[in-house]
Symmetry: C2
Subunit: 165 residues, 2 copies
């Protein structure tokens, strides 16, 4: 079981967008360029963030994506579910009701213990991802980036926002 690459890409895009100066947007192409990922695939994931109300797009030549809400209010869980969908990992097909010992649904008063345990684990996964916000990730990730990289990143941003956009 593996999360799609879009999860990593969009989490980093959201972190970058959290660091943008007010009023600045970045196109899918620029976001792909900054992260060294394929533009068309990234565009699809960014559309998913837009449908989830995490980013918004400004139209026109100078348009692009930016966060739709304060970074401190957007959780990593929201980003992951926007890309991966909100389906549970575990799907219960109620196999306890099949076979020679099976019975009608109404005879079972509670959720199957196997499914309940699997869903408790998913809840723990979600709960942990909900504790991390894009705002806190932005602070952390930027604190981890070497000074030289920060400098190159800032120069690139200036060049695409002022000159190349």
């Amino acid at each position: 079981m593996r999360l799609s690459e879009g999860v990593e890409w969009t989490a980093h895009c959201a972190v970058l967008m959290a660091a943008l100066p007010p009023g600045v947007s970045l196109s899918a192409k620029r976001l792909a360029e900054f992260h060294g990922v394929p533009g068309p695939y990234l565009a699809k994931s960014l559309q998913a963030l837009m449908r989830a109300g995490i980013v918004e797009s400004s139209p026109g030549r100078h348009g692009g994506y930016r966060l739709a809400r304060p970074a401190a209010d957007i959780t990593l869980l929201e980003v992951v579910l926007a890309v991966e969908g909100n389906e549970p990992f575990f799907r219960c097909t109620d196999i306890r009701r099949r076979g020679p010992a099976g019975g009608p649904a109404k005879a079972y008063s509670s959720t199957c213990g196997v499914a309940a345990a699997m869903w408790r684990a998913e809840e723990a996964w979600r709960s942990e991802l909900e504790k991390t916000t894009i705002g806190s990730l932005m602070e952390l990730v930027f604190a981890q980036v070497p000074a030289e990289s920060l400098d190159r990143g800032a120069k690139w941003l200036t060049s695409v926002v002022i000159t190349r956009r």
Copy 2:
């Protein structure tokens, strides 16, 4: 992202095996029959449980699968990982090092904050699944099964173990 059906099947098989009288095994075919699932696919998942040391097989005409260890010592996590593999959900491709701001690996002193947050969530998922044993699930699942179903299950078991095996 979805876990394979084999997770549900093998968890229920392990629960049933936990309830078998000492010395009794069930073939893949019988385990499939009891759970109303396709035999050839289930056989593959049972092989995965065997490779993981969760079940063992007794050879011969009357042979079959049984738990290799006490049910109270087998966690649900072990069963899930046996079927799904031990790979993390999130794969970090270190995209912070790509693009115009990227730098050499040695310039980054710590795990990327995005990956660290994703892996904390997986650890929470694993930790929750580790709290549940096949022994506790067996008690719970059997307590949930209607008396009539338990009775039919016991009759089926007697028929396959004594008569049909």
